[in-house]
């Protein structure tokens, strides 16, 4: 009898394969295949519109490396990621600590804070085009301080910080929810015991309990934040399209333009996307190792 699988488990595994089949067909066609195909394309001069396809080896990669534009885009993306991820993580944690109360008002206000998370990036970008425009709210607020009104998105100095501001504003609430979930998973007897032990001030609670206990959430939030930030596209495309004077130029704009505007450069675009993949991987793994050491 040993090792004989019975009718029940055969039925079970057959059912299981049927249930996962659609997922794997879709993943295969629209994730695994494109990912592999993308590497293949990156080794070719690939112009499907003019049927001009020939092998170029790693030339596409070399031209990406040589491109000052791509280097600028990567540097911009790294600056953007550093500023946005660190700020939004702190802000999300802070908001979560603020809203983690059993007040009626916290429920109502929290619902409003969450509005950007359901709004499309394009719609939000348009609202913020106006916000930063010459007649916009930012100038209206700054006017009493004697700051001359200008279109902030037309400024090489302020365009990128403006986009950063928009994204910090719109993604913090999303990560706040993750921190809230983490805070609520801390058993209340622990905090009661802490109160008896004299941990009463908000700072000591944060320092000795909330922060060390939510290391996993922080790791998750930071990694998701990095992955999202490096792939920044929608807001830049809608608000500045990389300008003015490449001040907001990011890798995804580079990749998109090469695939969409110049069909002859699709191979270059694929090569750039692979390099971006490598950058994301390296940062993610480095972050993970760094944060693992802080685990309780």
């Amino acid at each position: 009898m040993a090792g004989v699988r019975d009718a029940g488990s055969r039925l079970e595994s057959r059912t299981a394969y049927l249930l996962i089949a659609p997922l794997f067909i879709l993943l295969g066609s629209f994730v695994f295949f494109p990912a592999a195909f993308s590497f293949y394309v990156s080794l070719f001069h690939y112009d499907p519109f003019n049927h001009s396809i020939y092998y170029v080896g790693f030339n596409n990669y070399l031209s990406v490396f040589d491109s000052p534009l791509f280097r600028l885009a990567v540097i911009n993306a790294l600056i953007y990621t550093t500023v946005v991820v660190s700020t939004q993580t702190f802000l999300a944690f802070g908001l979560a600590l603020l809203f983690n109360r059993r007040f009626l008002i916290s429920k109502v206000t929290r619902a409003f804070v969450f509005l950007p998370a359901i709004t499309s990036s394009v719609a939000l970008s348009i609202i913020f085009i106006w916000f930063f425009s010459k007649q916009g709210l930012l100038n209206y607020i700054l006017a009493p301080l004697g700051i001359a009104s200008q279109n902030w998105l037309f400024s090489t100095t302020y365009a990128f910080p403006s986009i950063m501001m928009l994204n910090i504003f719109s993604t913090s609430p999303y990560f706040m929810i993750m921190y809230l979930a983490g805070l609520q998973s801390i058993p209340s007897p622990i905090m009661e015991a802490a109160a008896i032990d004299g941990v009463i001030s908000p700072w000591s609670k944060f320092r000795y309990f909330y922060f060390p206990m939510l290391t996993f959430t922080t790791l998750f939030v930071v990694i998701l934040g990095i992955i999202g930030s490096i792939q920044l596209f929608d807001q830049v495309f809608v608000m500045t399209d990389g300008g003015p004077a490449y001040a907001t130029y990011v890798p995804m704009i580079y990749i998109f333009n090469r695939a969409y505007l110049y069909p002859g450069l699709i191979g270059v675009s694929a090569a750039a996307s692979f390099l971006l993949f490598v950058i994301i991987m390296v940062i993610t793994i480095a972050q993970r190792n760094f944060l693992k050491e802080m685990k309780w």
Partner: protein, 310 residues
């Protein structure tokens, strides 16, 4: 803004303390937050909420104006009679602009098909990974989770080339199919199915249900919150998706709303029609807003389910 009942309770407490004339506030300060501190926190919450509401308020305000120029001092009331008339007027202009109804229809079509299929596919796979024993279960599950690590740009270009090659550029299937497979939905569903006591499924086996019957008669009905969460999630993601349709839909007939909104931005040359842009924004926001209002709880739950350990 303290809730009246809390204010009342607090007042009674204070009153008793004064009557007795001895120290009794300590308990209040240790076990319950002091009123000034609570007020301070509530004020902070309201402030944050205001910061988050203002852009949206301005969006509504702009959509209720005819003049494309800002007036100083601005009229801040979006609920006046003229505002309403302007709003209707703007609505007509936006709705008759280009192919706006078609774009709206496309968005609804694409999102609803993506939601139904993605949630079904995710629930089926999530259930198999949570409850059924089969060879390679763990490896395959890690493969699914691994897709989360593949950045979208890597897939994007090849998918685009692939669509060009098979002639699916400018097609509904080209818009829809790549959006269905979602590791997040699989993960979310699996997490939820794991919380259903397995004895219930044992009982169902003894009652004569086959594994797929247990899935659709017992476990799936019990996982309604997870279905709701992943449906809302997927809907909002698909409704707001910009980059894929931007590559895929190259003729206006296949545009979805985000493409339309982006188009509005530059539709009138150098002149910017804020009122129409904001109106279009509002129209695009309405479905997600309604769904969010109704199912806020599940939306939050969905993020929480994916964001905690598992």
């Amino acid at each position: 803004m303290v809730t009246p009942s809390e204010l009342f309770r607090y007042a009674i407490h204070k009153f008793r303390h004064l009557l007795r004339g001895n120290g009794g506030t300590e308990e209040l300060e240790i076990n319950r937050m002091s009123l000034p501190r609570k007020l301070l926190l509530e004020a902070a919450m309201i402030m944050v909420a205001v910061v988050y509401v203002v852009p949206f308020y301005w969006m509504v305000l702009k959509a209720t104006r005819i003049s494309i120029l800002a007036n100083f001092p601005p009229d801040l009331n979006p609920f006046s009679r003229t505002s309403f008339n302007n709003f209707i007027n703007n609505f007509h202009q936006v709705w008759s602009f280009g192919n706006f109804p078609t774009w709206y229809f496309n968005s609804i079509l694409v999102s609803s098909v993506v939601v139904t299929t993605s949630v079904m596919v995710g629930a089926m796979a999530g259930y198999a990974f949570a409850r059924l024993k089969f060879r390679g279960r763990n490896i395959l599950f890690y493969v699914v989770l691994g897709t989360l690590m593949i950045p979208f740009p890597v897939i994007l270009i090849a998918s685009y080339v692939f669509m060009v090659d098979i002639g699916w550029i400018n097609s509904y299937q080209g818009l829809i199919l790549p959006q269905i497979a979602s590791a997040v939905n699989v993960f979310l569903m699996r997490q939820y199915f794991l919380t259903i006591p397995s004895e219930i499924e044992d009982a169902a086996k003894i009652d004569g249900l086959r594994p797929w019957q247990i899935f659709y008669r017992i476990s799936a009905p019990l996982a309604k919150p997870a279905f709701a969460a992943s449906a809302i999630y997927t809907f909002i993601g698909s409704w707001n998706n910009f980059l894929w349709p931007l590559l895929e839909a190259q003729t206006v007939n296949y545009w979805t709303l985000p493409l339309a909104l982006n188009f509005f931005k530059g539709a009138n040359g150098t002149q910017i029609y804020w009122n129409q842009m904001m109106m279009a924004d509002i129209l695009a926001l309405i479905p997600t807003f309604i769904i969010y209002m109704i199912f806020e709880r599940y939306f939050i739950q969905g993020i929480s389910l994916t964001g905690t350990k598992g």
